[in-house]
């Protein structure tokens, strides 16, 4: 059984989890934009054709 974390450790873990939570989401959208830019641009051009 692991010892219960101290309040300070708990807070540090909490902040680490928040950084992970925000960081993963930010990284996801940046990665998406780079990796799938060709798809994004083809969708935009298709919509442009449709409504242009």
């Amino acid at each position: 059984m692991l010892p219960a974390p101290t309040p300070r450790t708990r807070r540090a873990l909490l902040y680490a989890a928040v950084v992970w939570l925000v960081g993963i989401q930010a990284y996801f959208y940046v990665d998406l934009l780079i990796e799938r830019w060709d798809q994004v641009s083809s969708v935009l051009s298709r919509l442009g054709d449709l409504f242009g």
Binding site: R11, L14, A17, V18, W20, F28, Y29, V43, R46, L47
Partner: protein, 642 residues
């Protein structure tokens, strides 16, 4: 008019299925967590169970339009009886609500929702509308053209199930296709897509409803919106593959499991078993992962919480497992009756495998091992949570979004409701089996939905934690709003990429041939033979039998077999190297024409399958006259040797 009939048939099925489910829940004296959940549970149960009606018709040779119409009318009558009882009970239990009137309640509910709720609800409504328009277009999906719609079409033509050796998957459980028979028999084949659209919306509602038990409605709506944006969900909302219907079955099994944890009434375990069994009956053979995972979870929970010892724990698991198995047994019996093997073509050592020779069975087993082999390496297992989010192509999957991966560490740092822990344990038990058997996100959709409920809960608990200062809470709330906005834009982009042509075709009532000629060669479907099929339909004699390279025969008006079948079933596969030997086998099969690409394009890496193709190309043009040639297709007439 055709689409109106489809909508009416799907509406009738929803009334029939949900009403039957309400009757069943009422007879078991089970009450879900609130009336919306009762309806959703009933819908999962009833819509799954009424699929056995066309199944029985198919077995008995009575699969035709009058029988489908008569049985649907009876099912609707039963469903209306279920709804009547449900509404009457509601009047007794909630007289003030009824007195206030539906309009007043809706207005009050919308007012309480607030701007964020309106945006999220508006997004779900918009997505639902766009997906419906896409679903009303002609069928285009790959699996649909091979068997998801093609097989029910053939069964309807013959009025019964029959043995079709060319497709390995056709004896596996297809419960959801049975449900779609009603739209195919009474409306048109596009109706199969509308069934999935409706199932998708029910699943989104179920996600919101389950999340609502743990978080405020706005956060629950965010979970539903995040789920509706998963790209596999977006695509499948307008396609006739069964994963969303199956998703509803297994997700409601999880919801029923939560009810069992709350009430410890073992009839809930029976409901869990039925729903998990329906998931297995609709998902082909790997769908057993849901029932096995939930049985394991029932054992775990009963062992730790119920205090009845190992006997109690095992009996809880056995209830789930046995009931789930009972739901799939009719399908195994059908496969056994038609092939002699309930799990055809698997377990050939025990049951045999009709129309497979030893080398073909060995190749199939090795092929599956090649497919899933890398997944079982330690590095892939460890990296899978990351890869499923950032490299989904590795798993032939769409994008599921960042929320689940982002929220996982919160399980370790925030105080979590006991039921959420067990829901997370359910993700582990089902997820491990899913990963081992069939890693494609679309077969994991119900568990993704469950994980999104858990993620929404964790982020909500973090946001209201008193350990975070105000500025951090505000920052977190703002960032989550930005992330949700980006995710909704991504979802709309996915609709634009995959469904724009279908939506436009529906709105403008575009000619079907024109639409299919333009759409089927698209990068996500890659089918280039449609114009050639039309030409063959117009020139070859009716009743012709074709030996064909591609399995996507839905838009072809003739009986077909794959030429790969010759190599797969022949007891002397080496003979496929000899064109004259192949010629004799083609004549034995009774094929009138052979359909190939103009050049050799191996359909398989199974050597006898490649030899067949070489031999057919050798025969076509030399021994057999070429009767049709385009830049994409060559057709030869089989001229008998003697």
């Amino acid at each position: 008019m055709e689409q109106l009939i489809n909508l009416v048939v799907v509406g009738a099925m929803l009334v029939a299925g949900s009403g039957l489910g309400l009757l069943l829940l009422n007879s078991l004296r089970l009450e879900g967590a609130g009336r919306p959940q009762q309806v959703l549970l009933a819908s999962g149960l009833g819509l799954g169970l009424i699929g056995y009606v066309p199944f029985v018709l198919g077995l008995s040779g009575g699969l035709n339009t009058p029988a489908l119409l008569a049985t649907l009318l009876v099912a609707v009558a039963v469903g209306l009886a279920g709804w009547y009882g449900f509404v009457r009970l509601g009047e007794l239990a909630w007289p003030r609500d009824i007195a206030q009137g539906f309009g007043g309640r809706l207005t009050g509910w919308l007012r309480a929702l607030g701007p964020a709720g309106w945006v999220l609800g508006g997004f779900i409504t918009l997505m639902g509308l766009l997906n419906l328009l896409a679903a009303m277009a002609p069928v285009i999906g790959i699996d649909e053209l091979i068997y998801r719609v093609r097989l029910p079409e053939l069964y309807l033509e013959r009025g019964e199930f029959f043995y079709l050796p060319t497709l390995e998957v056709h004896q596996q459980p297809q419960q959801v296709q049975m449900l779609q028979m009603w739209t195919m028999g009474l409306g048109s084949d596009s109706g199969t897509q509308i069934v999935q659209w409706a199932m998708g919306l029910l699943l989104v509602a179920a996600v919101v409803d389950l999340a609502r038990r743990f978080v405020p409605i706005t956060v629950a709506l965010a979970a539903g919106a995040a789920f509706y944006g998963v790209s596999d969900v977006v695509v499948l909302s307008a396609r006739a593959v069964p994963d969303l219907a199956n998703g509803l079955f297994l997700f409601m099994a999880f919801a029923a499991f939560v009810n069992w944890m709350d009430a410890e009434n073992d009839w809930w375990l029976v409901v869990v078993g039925i729903l998990a069994g329906l998931f297995a009956a609709g998902s082909r053979l790997p769908g057993a992962y849901g029932a096995i995972g939930l049985a394991a979870l029932a054992i775990l929970y009963a062992w730790r919480r119920s205090g009845g010892g190992p006997v109690r724990a095992v009996s809880a698991g056995v209830i789930v497992g046995v009931v789930a198995l009972a739901m799939v047994v009719p399908w195994f019996a059908k496969a056994w009756a038609l092939t002699g093997n309930p799990l055809w073509p698997f377990f050939d050592g025990v049951f045999g495998a009709r129309d497979f020779n030893d080398s073909a069975i060995a190749y199939m087993a090795a092929d599956q091992q090649r497919d899933v082999g890398p997944w079982h390496s330690l590095s892939w297992i460890v990296a899978s949570p990351w890869d499923l989010v950032f490299d989904p192509k590795k798993f032939r999957s769409g994008v599921m979004g960042p929320f689940i991966l982002a929220a996982i560490p919160l399980l370790a740092v925030v105080r979590v409701d006991r039921r959420i822990w067990y829901m997370a344990a359910g993700v582990v038990t089902t997820g491990a089996l899913w990963y081992w058997t069939f890693v494609r996100l679309r077969s994991f959709i119900p568990v993704v939905a469950l994980m999104l409920v858990i993620a929404a809960y964790l982020i909500w608990i973090l946001w209201r934690s008193d350990q975070l200062p105000d500025w951090a809470k505000k920052g977190l709330g703002g960032l989550m709003a930005v992330s949700m906005t980006l995710w909704m834009l991504f979802a709309l982009g996915t609709v634009a990429r995959f469904h724009t042509d279908s939506i436009v075709a529906t709105i403008t009532a575009q000619d079907e041939r024109e639409f299919l000629t333009e759409r089927l060669p698209g990068d996500d479907t890659g089918f280039e033979w449609y114009p050639d099929y039309i030409a063959l339909n117009e020139t070859l004699p009716a009743g012709s039998s074709l030996l064909i390279w591609d399995t996507r025969s839905y838009y072809l008006d003739f009986a077909t077999e794959r030429h790969y079948l010759l190599a797969r079933k022949d007891p002397f596969p080496e003979g496929m190297k000899d064109p004259q030997y192949v010629r004799a086998r083609v004549e034995e099969l009774g094929s009138d024409y052979v359909v190939l690409w103009p050049e050799v394009r191996y359909v398989t890496e199974y050597p006898p399958g490649m030899w067949v193709e070489d031999s057919l190309h050798e025969l076509c043009g030399n021994e057999w006259p070429v009767i049709y040639l385009s830049d994409k297709m060559k057709v030869c007439e089989v001229v008998p040797q003697f």
